[in-house]
Symmetry: C2
Subunit: 344 residues, 2 copies
């Protein structure tokens, strides 16, 4: 089978396939012993920057799970690190930005970055994975969307209410839009670099955008997300993903993307109807369901496939990343269930 | 003006009023110096249990802000504390449950509670506030909904992914439903106790229900929420509130309530249309907007009022509680703006 006719790429284009394709966000991650073994030899950023190891990690779930796509092992903050914000991955804490961006002055101090020169290791890993995969399954590249990158840069660490982000957005709109413009430019270059290196589809992660009201999204985010998606090399499918976005879906659709990613807090059937059937959808199993017993997993998988009603253009996925507590055999079973229950 | 014809109670019944009524969740809270002064003399639970002080705190925002309703000062975990779960409010950490409920055995160890006997201080405070308010503004009572109470009891503390809750729900459905039945019973008694003591409307807080998929909500939550709302004394308006519920609104409507509470992550106009105009709505300003400059607050208030389109049955509120960082004068200004911009 040529990869161009893979179930995943066919679904991105809303073409019929012999089964519903499935992959998982964070399919190469802490829940997997093989990942933990490799990770024991590297810090997180080190691992991202070692193209050989990153390629090895990327390939793990293809072998182990039988998923229909690989996604390059990387982090959404890699392209902003060279701006000089002091990125660190503290153990068990997620990313910390030591010099957060909260004013025009902070923004002025950011280094100008050429994404094609700043993260050669990502493109190198992409080339290696693509060569290793051959015609087996397609490779997905990815980037953070401008809003989600901005919220990391502004908050500087984990946040519950995103108050710094919202304050900058509301009270210093000029600085906000300048920052978004910078991030749009970097993101477009970074995604197209991955495409040149071999990525056959890309996912734009606007993971935290669901904290915004629809009005704020429309005014402060939509133009920059749209610009980012428009900048992606023509012909390469874009998956536009966020969480907590049940109230933002029609605006995300306006911003663009060939596939809209759905988390689990929305009914896939209703969401697709609201989005329109001229766009594909991805999702939407609650990651917590993978901790339940297999009969319960099967019941939930079946319910989602029923909501998609066999319509071409559904990519099965979790609503967010695989949780570290997830048993690997549950993931393997879930991938089989999707293939099994959707076989046409 | 008789309180029965107050703008707030009229809006609950979708009757026209001369202005849009407004109150705020956590309107008596840490952002307010008068509250902090009283709070300095009590632990949080102590304050809830001192009916004199709780009544005093309840009345503060009526004087200071000019809101259209008071809400009794209490905590949603008060009626479950007497079950013997070891509730503590640790400084700056929110509630901790020292003996979480995660199995049939744990459930069996819970004490049987008569809500009318277990929390006399809440009813006492309610009587005092009602007497003090006279005909000025109505008094709202409240309780946690069974799901949100259950998630606190099961997690035992703050949670990001609610994995214990979801695991119990999926893997031990009998225990789950027994727990929900217990909580429904306690909640109904507790709400009706507040009504007997003088509350003229009640709000059911299902604050964390937005973490569920619509299918799980329908199966594991809806019947118990419906039972709770049905159990409330006839004729008293029920506000049914949750956050992150943009994908659950039609199911919440099915569960019941005279007013559906909306957080800020959904467009009020679209949500109301989807819910149907035979129900009132409450919301939906992003609490973070109150940290912005007044011109920006006004712009956001106006946008929400425009979405409500002057239709009777809109109660203005935040989408969740007032943030501790909020300047009091911004809150005062916001209440004035709502009255001002909605005056008919």
């Amino acid at each position: 089978m040529k990869v161009v006719s893979s179930p995943f790429l066919r679904a991105c284009r809303r073409e019929a396939a012999d089964r519903t394709p499935v992959w998982l966000m964070r399919q190469a991650g802490r829940y997997m012993p093989e990942y933990r073994a490799i990770r024991a030899r590297f810090g997180f950023l080190e691992l991202c920057k070692d193209s050989e190891a990153a390629a090895e990690v990327t390939l793990l779930p293809v072998e182990r799970l039988g998923v229909d796509a690989a996604i390059i092992f990387a982090d959404i903050l890699l392209p902003v690190e060279p701006m000089g914000v002091g990125l660190e991955f503290a153990k068990g804490e997620g990313p910390i930005i030591h010099r957060p961006v909260r004013s025009a002055g902070d923004l002025g101090r950011l280094a100008e970055v050429d994404p094609l020169e700043a993260t050669p290791f990502v493109f190198e890993a992409t080339r290696k994975v693509r060569a290793a995969l051959g015609e087996r399954v397609p490779l997905i590249g990815f980037a953070g969307a401008p809003f989600t990158l901005a919220s990391y840069l502004i908050e500087g660490g984990p946040s519950r209410d995103y108050l710094h982000t919202k304050r900058l957005m509301h009270d210093d709109q000029a600085t906000w839009h300048s920052l978004m413009e910078r991030l749009q430019k970097v993101t477009v270059g970074y995604l197209n670099g991955q495409i040149s290196a071999g990525a056959q589809a890309v996912q734009l992660f606007d993971s935290w955008v669901g904290i915004l009201s629809p009005n704020d999204y429309r005014e402060f985010v939509l133009p920059w997300t749209r610009g980012t998606i428009k900048g992606v090399t023509a012909g390469v499918p874009v998956i536009h993903f966020g969480t907590g976005t049940a109230g933002l879906l029609s605006l995300m659709r306006e911003a663009g993307g060939d596939v809209i990613g759905l988390d689990w807090r929305v009914d896939l059937g209703e969401a697709w109807k609201r989005l329109g059937y001229d766009v594909a959808v991805q999702g939407n199993l609650d990651p917590a369901v993978l901790l339940a017993k297999p009969t319960e997993i099967r019941r939930h998988v079946r319910a989602i496939l029923e909501r998609a009603a066999g319509r071409p253009g559904h990519i099965f996925n979790l609503g967010h990343g695989v949780l570290p507590e997830t048993p690997v055999d549950h993931v393997v079973a879930m991938v089989e269930m999707v293939h099994d229950l959707s076989r046409r």
